[in-house]
């Protein structure tokens, strides 16, 4: 079974530039998550999708971050314009359904460096 795919693995940009990350979840998984992991911290949820609808985006900085999940499969996370503090690893995860099972399947992440 193929895992969660993310690209690009690494990205270096200058502040005020834009960047986009792509995620392809495990086939059939209805729930998709984007997490931000800053060095030395635990992952923080940015947005959660159930199929193509947003379940939770309360911690997404909506003035610069946006995400979509067209057709309830792939997802894209965009940052525009980037700030220095956006330097982090962006993790995508999926699960068969939302619930207390808590077992998420994570991709390897996209490491962003903002200069």
């Amino acid at each position: 079974e193929a895992g969660v795919a993310q690209s690009p693995r690494y990205k270096i940009i200058e502040k005020r530039q834009s960047v986009a990350f792509w995620c392809n979840p495990i086939s059939g998984h209805a729930t998709l998550y984007w997490y931000q992991q800053i060095l030395g911290q635990g992952p923080k949820l940015l947005i959660q999708f159930q199929n193509n609808g947003v379940v939770d985006d309360s911690q997404l900085p909506k003035d610069r971050f946006s995400a979509e999940r067209l057709k309830g499969v792939d997802s894209t996370l965009k940052i525009q314009p980037a700030k220095l503090e956006d330097s982090a690893v962006y993790l995508c995860a999926s699960s068969p359904r939302a619930g207390e099972s808590g077992e998420l399947f994570f991709g390897e992440g996209s490491r962003l460096t903002v200069l």
Binding site: G3, G42, E100, F106, E108
Partner: protein
């Protein structure tokens, strides 16, 4: 607020010795608690979970965790650590379908 705390940033043990990674929780009602591991340059992996039932939960790679309600703890344990267990470990609570991660504990197992 539902949260977990990992009091140790780092744990160092010798190979073959017991390994314990500590976690305390602060949740109302019945806690749903998990452990995840992050190996270098790899994605996060689910290790084990406690939802209800036996206080001792067994998971992947020989790990287990003990839920202790009186001490509000959910410590991760392995009787005999391997060098390959060196990784970053996260204690996680789940509430209303949302995962909250602890800050993480870096485990180093020396040969």
């Amino acid at each position: 607020a539902q949260s977990v705390a990992q009091p140790e940033d780092q744990v160092n043990v010798a190979e073959g010795n017991p390994l314990t990674v500590k976690c305390t929780y602060s949740v109302s009602g019945n806690p749903y608690l998990f452990w995840y591991v992050q190996y270098p340059n790899r994605g996060l992996q689910f290790l084990l979970k406690y939802i209800t039932g036996d206080n001792l939960v067994k998971g992947s790679y020989g790990f287990e965790a003990e839920f202790n309600k009186s001490q509000t703890s959910f410590h991760l344990k392995k009787p005999s650590a391997l060098v390959s267990d060196s990784a970053l470990y996260f204690c996680v609570s789940v509430n209303d379908y949302k995962l909250s991660f602890g800050a993480g504990t870096t485990v180093t197992v020396r040969a």
